[in-house]
């Protein structure tokens, strides 16, 4: 070791030894660990916000926010005449590039806008979120999750059409879009007041959502995965490592890391679905029974926590958290596409909840259901609840990612290792996506500029550490609450602006039918 290296390393070693010795001498045995302290402070601070968002309807245990999402998705489905079914094939044609002008080659394609948005949504919601839903709500939660996914396609169509229509295009060719822009411009166009106010409120919630579901939840579950492989160790260590890598990408501009992730994540997704399909094929004789449990559980509860309502709430909550329909994040991601027709991006975006929830989440739920990791009473056939009575008892007393991992391990013993890598990559990719969404909201509020952007990015990295250190309960509550708060504001705006989308859709479909919109391939 040369002198220069020694000069650099020595203070670090000294600092480390002092920290360790201080910890050994100063900390009483009953003192809380850093993780516990972070968790307690975090739970206390976020508690009131979480309680407000998940407040039940008077006289029931049904959270009003779930009803809000279901009603909105149903209204959009009816208002746009089952666009998710009627427009499904046209969406695929658009993604294939059938209507893309070859002279526009080199611009952002529909496929790229879709996959970019998907990389922000496909991830832990599909792996951990589904396990939480099935663990608490039983297989019946899957039914409601699929229904929420199908309905959510119409919501996504509405918000992404508006995202493209009202985006900002700057003289240098860059674009910025999202709910804050359609709230401001769309309300003004319709002569309605309050657009600017809603845009500000949405931006605040979007920042919280990016720090919660788009960051802390990801860091938390990534740490749980690493712990599952290497054994218990403090979460803040994972947090600091993750924060360092995220910092390198979003602040340091080391795009190669993000590029590698963007390329590896889709393959991980394919690998995940492939593994699930193989497990289902091997256990094909149980698929019928699994669907039976899903349908029966959807309406009876099969003895799960909260019964039928518990299954419904969990299904809708986790579906919304996974596919983000109505949340507004996709409108930010899709707005970069190069198209003269905003409706085309609406069509493309409706594939997102289908891929995310109807396909991938259902795969996870089926594998968990047929794996036998959920414990049933052999006499009654009903699920056995855990000691606290809060969720279904599982083999090995696992929940979240660990439950999915255990379920896949019944098919492939090595799969937990692949899943661990997938979770870490999914978590990282979702963090990068959400750092962008959060930044867009931040710059909407505080203006664009290097210092303001850097401040947000640093805050984002700090929350990575908090997320990894806190325990799952408070993190998942805050993540849900922040993301659903975005949906409250966004869906309110969608109600006001949906006549614009209907007008756009009618005009587009008419021109499509008449051949005015040219097919190139």
């Amino acid at each position: 070791m040369n002198r220069k290296t020694l000069a650099l390393v020595a203070p670090a070693l000294w600092a480390a030894s002092v920290t360790v010795s201080m910890a050994q001498t100063a900390a009483p045995p009953e003192a809380m660990s850093i993780d516990q302290q972070v968790n307690n402070v975090f739970a206390t601070v976020t508690g009131p916000f979480v309680n407000l968002i998940f407040a039940p309807l008077p006289g029931t245990s049904f959270p009003w926010i779930v009803l809000w999402l279901v009603v909105a998705a149903s209204i959009f489905t009816v208002y746009f005449g089952l666009i998710q079914l009627r427009g499904f094939w046209h969406s695929i044609e658009l993604v294939r590039g059938d209507y893309s002008d070859p002279n526009d080659a080199g611009e952002v394609s529909h496929f790229q806008a879709l996959t970019t948005a998907l990389s922000g949504t496909v991830g832990l919601g599909n792996i951990a979120g589904v396990a939480v839903a099935v663990g608490i709500g039983g297989p019946g939660a899957t039914f409601w999750m699929i229904l929420a996914g199908l309905l959510g396609m119409a919501t996504k169509f509405t918000e992404c059409t508006l995202g493209v229509k009202y985006r900002n295009e700057y003289p240098d060719g860059t674009v910025s879009g999202g709910p804050m822009y359609y709230m401001k411009k769309g309300f003004a166009e319709r002569g309605k007041p309050g657009g600017r106010f809603l845009a500000v409120v949405f931006s605040i919630f979007c920042i919280l959502g990016s720090l919660g579901g788009g960051n802390m939840f990801q860091a938390n579950q990534a740490h749980a995965q690493i712990e599952g492989i290497v054994g218990d160790f403090p979460g803040w260590i994972t947090g600091i490592i993750f924060a360092g890598v995220v910092f390198a990408v979003i602040v340091g501009g080391i795009k190669s890391i993000a590029r590698v992730t963007e390329k590896v994540v889709p393959f991980m997704g394919i690998l995940y679905v492939g593994a699930a399909l193989i497990i289902l094929l091997v256990n094909y004789d149980q698929i019928g029974a699994a669907f039976g449990a899903i349908f029966a559980g959807a309406f009876t509860g099969l003895g799960v926590a909260g019964g039928f309502v518990g299954a419904l709430i969990q299904g809708f909550k986790r579906a919304a958290f996974s596919n983000e329909a109505g949340v507004g994040s996709a409108a930010i991601a899709h707005s970069a596409v190069r198209t003269k027709e905003p409706v085309t991006e609406g069509y493309v975006s409706l594939l997102e909840p289908f891929i995310d929830t109807v396909v991938i989440c259902t795969m996870t739920a089926l594998v968990i259901t047929i794996s036998g990791t959920l414990i049933t009473d052999p006499e009654t056939g009903l699920f056995v609840l855990n000691e606290a009575g809060t969720s279904i008892a599982t083999v090995g007393d696992v929940s979240g990612v660990a439950l999915t991992s255990a379920a896949f391990a019944t098919g492939f013993s090595w799969f937990p290792y692949v899943l661990a890598v997938a979770v870490i990559l999914f978590a990282f990719s979702t963090m990068i996506s959400w750092s962008y969404y959060g930044l867009k909201a931040w710059t909407y509020l505080f203006g664009e500029g290097k210092t303001t952007e850097l401040l947000f990015k640093v805050i984002f990295c700090i929350f990575v550490v908090i997320g990894a250190a806190a325990s799952l309960g408070p993190v998942i509550d805050f993540s849900d609450a922040a993301i659903f708060a975005m949906a409250v504001v966004n869906i309110s705006a969608l109600y006001v602006l949906m006549p614009i989308v209907r007008r756009e859709l009618a005009s587009y479909n008419e021109r499509l039918k008449s051949g005015a919109i040219k097919r190139f391939h």
């Binding site: 080199g106 611009e107 590029r259 190069r338």
Partner: protein
């Protein structure tokens, strides 16, 4: 109506051979327009980050400007200085597909390319752009060695 000859450049020194051959051919033909085309390899099915998408339109413009100034415009100037009628185009996409589409759209009678620079493992594994071009082009293709 002049005969259009499309010259595909790949940004390397080999392109000069294609230009030289095109000059000889144009001299023999007489009434001829030379169309210099450079294709920026790009796929609509690649994966990008949201930030890359946001910047894409700007980057595309920059890529086209760079390709024009470094590759296409010098070639066009060389041809016009030598007394030929010439113009240049930059396209994004798969090299072979883009050259074929441009040749079709512009009514080119022939495509002239120099043997592309890729070789070794990539060429064995993927097949070269030149090979794809020769196999799929609807007009004669001259590959200059």
């Amino acid at each position: 109506m002049p005969t259009t000859l499309l010259i595909g450049l790949d940004g390397t020194a080999t392109g000069e051979r294609a230009v030289k051959h095109a000059k000889q051919l144009a001299t023999l033909i007489g009434d001829c327009e030379l169309l210099v085309v450079y294709v920026i390899e790009w796929s609509p099915f690649s994966f990008q980050t949201a930030e890359e998408n946001e910047q894409r339109h700007k980057r595309r413009k920059e890529e086209i400007a760079a390709a024009l100034s470094r590759i296409v415009d010098p070639a066009v100037k060389e041809l016009t200085d030598a007394g030929f009628s010439a113009r240049g185009l930059v396209r994004h996409g798969d090299v072979a597909e883009s050259l074929i589409r441009t040749a079709t759209d512009e009514g080119a009678a022939q495509i002239i390319v120099a043997r592309m620079s890729e070789g070794g493992f990539v060429q064995r594994f993927m097949g070269s752009a030149t090979a794809s071009l020769v196999m799929s082009a609807p007009v004669p293709v001259t590959v200059v060695a």
